[in-house]
């Protein structure tokens, strides 16, 4: 079985070596691809110097574009599963195998590496946002997704094809909600994540509010107008 780890990287010069070396040395059963999203820093240079498998976008497309590039890569090279994986060291590769087995066993289309599948969620501003999205998804799909904003998601072959070729399938909770409505089988798998080791989080307050507004309106309203089908 071929499994691809997609690592979108935007200005991750400080983290990318650790992330990739860890994968290469300890988990070489998985293939990986770093998608450099037109970074301003040394990300691309570092990857080339270390001979990492790099897809180097000439301009910045944003996470959705970088992720879709990885999906296209997975489609062209015929992978069975592709996993979205952060370039900042938040995700732990030890869970990948488990997620794949979980997907295989239950014939799932999407597995979300969830921080709160079994464990209780802490109370913070960020978690209130997460709860709100959970509520939106619950209302529209009837399914409880406790950690929809988790950036660690596994997609099967069918999803790879869909996400690689269509518009409006960014790696965000609204896509998950929409896929569930279209009949995709989505489940969560308990994982642990690390705090950021270096670099700055992309989300500040105003961006978070914008993000929440965008997600909620997309999940609650826009998806009713979209054509259904996987």
């Amino acid at each position: 079985m071929k499994i691809l780890v997609i690592i979108p990287a935007y200005n991750e010069a400080e983290n990318i070596i650790n992330v990739v070396e860890n994968l290469k040395n300890n988990y070489n059963i998985f293939d990986y691809v770093v998608v450099n999203d037109g970074s301003n820093d040394e990300t691309a240079k570092i990857c080339k110097r270390n001979n990492y498998n790099l897809v180097d976008l000439p301009i910045n497309l944003g996470l959705a574009g970088a992720f879709q590039t990885g999906m296209k890569y997975a489609m062209y090279y015929d992978y069975d599963y592709a996993i979205q994986y952060d370039g900042d060291g938040q995700h732990n590769p030890q869970y990948i195998q488990g997620m794949v087995e979980f997907a295989e066993k239950n014939k799932l289309d999407v597995v979300i590496g969830s921080r709160f599948a079994k464990e209780k969620r802490p109370i913070s501003m960020r978690m209130i946002g997460s709860l709100l999205i959970e509520l939106c998804i619950l209302m529209t799909t009837g399914k409880k997704i406790k950690d929809s904003t988790s950036g660690m998601r596994l997609y099967d072959r069918k999803m790879i094809r869909k996400l690689a070729t269509s518009m409006n399938y960014g790696p965000e909770p609204d896509t998950i909600a929409y896929l569930i409505r279209c009949g995709a089988k989505v489940e969560e798998y308990q994982v642990h994540m690390n705090e950021r080791t270096a670099g700055e989080s992309y989300l500040n307050l105003s961006r978070s509010i914008k993000y929440m507004f965008h997600m909620c309106s997309s999940i609650l309203i826009v998806q009713w107008f979209r054509k259904k089908g996987i």
Binding site: V33, V55, L57, P58, L61, G65, Q68, T69, Y77, M167
Partner: protein, 111 residues
Amino acid sequence: MSIALRVILFIASVLTCTYIARKLKKSQIQVTDTVFWIGLSALFVVLSLFPDLVGILSELMGFQAPVNLIFLLMIFLLLIRCFLMSVRISQLEDKVRNLVEELAIRENGRH
């Protein structure tokens, strides 16, 4: 419609027409994109020359003044145009994204 409005409408429409024609001549715009604008300015030339057309229509539709019909028509046409432009921008962005992605994957060269 007052004389002043008719004159303004006429002059503005003719100027728009010549401006578009010049852009077309200098190859700064595709022919298909000018059709809407030429049609629109032609429509307003006609309306300014034959204000009775507007008068009859606005009476039929119950407008208080013919000029309101002109404004409504303009706003509506512009909104439609604006939306069509949004669609085109989306499609362009999608194309650019796909181009960038393909280009980068090909350059990766794992064949």
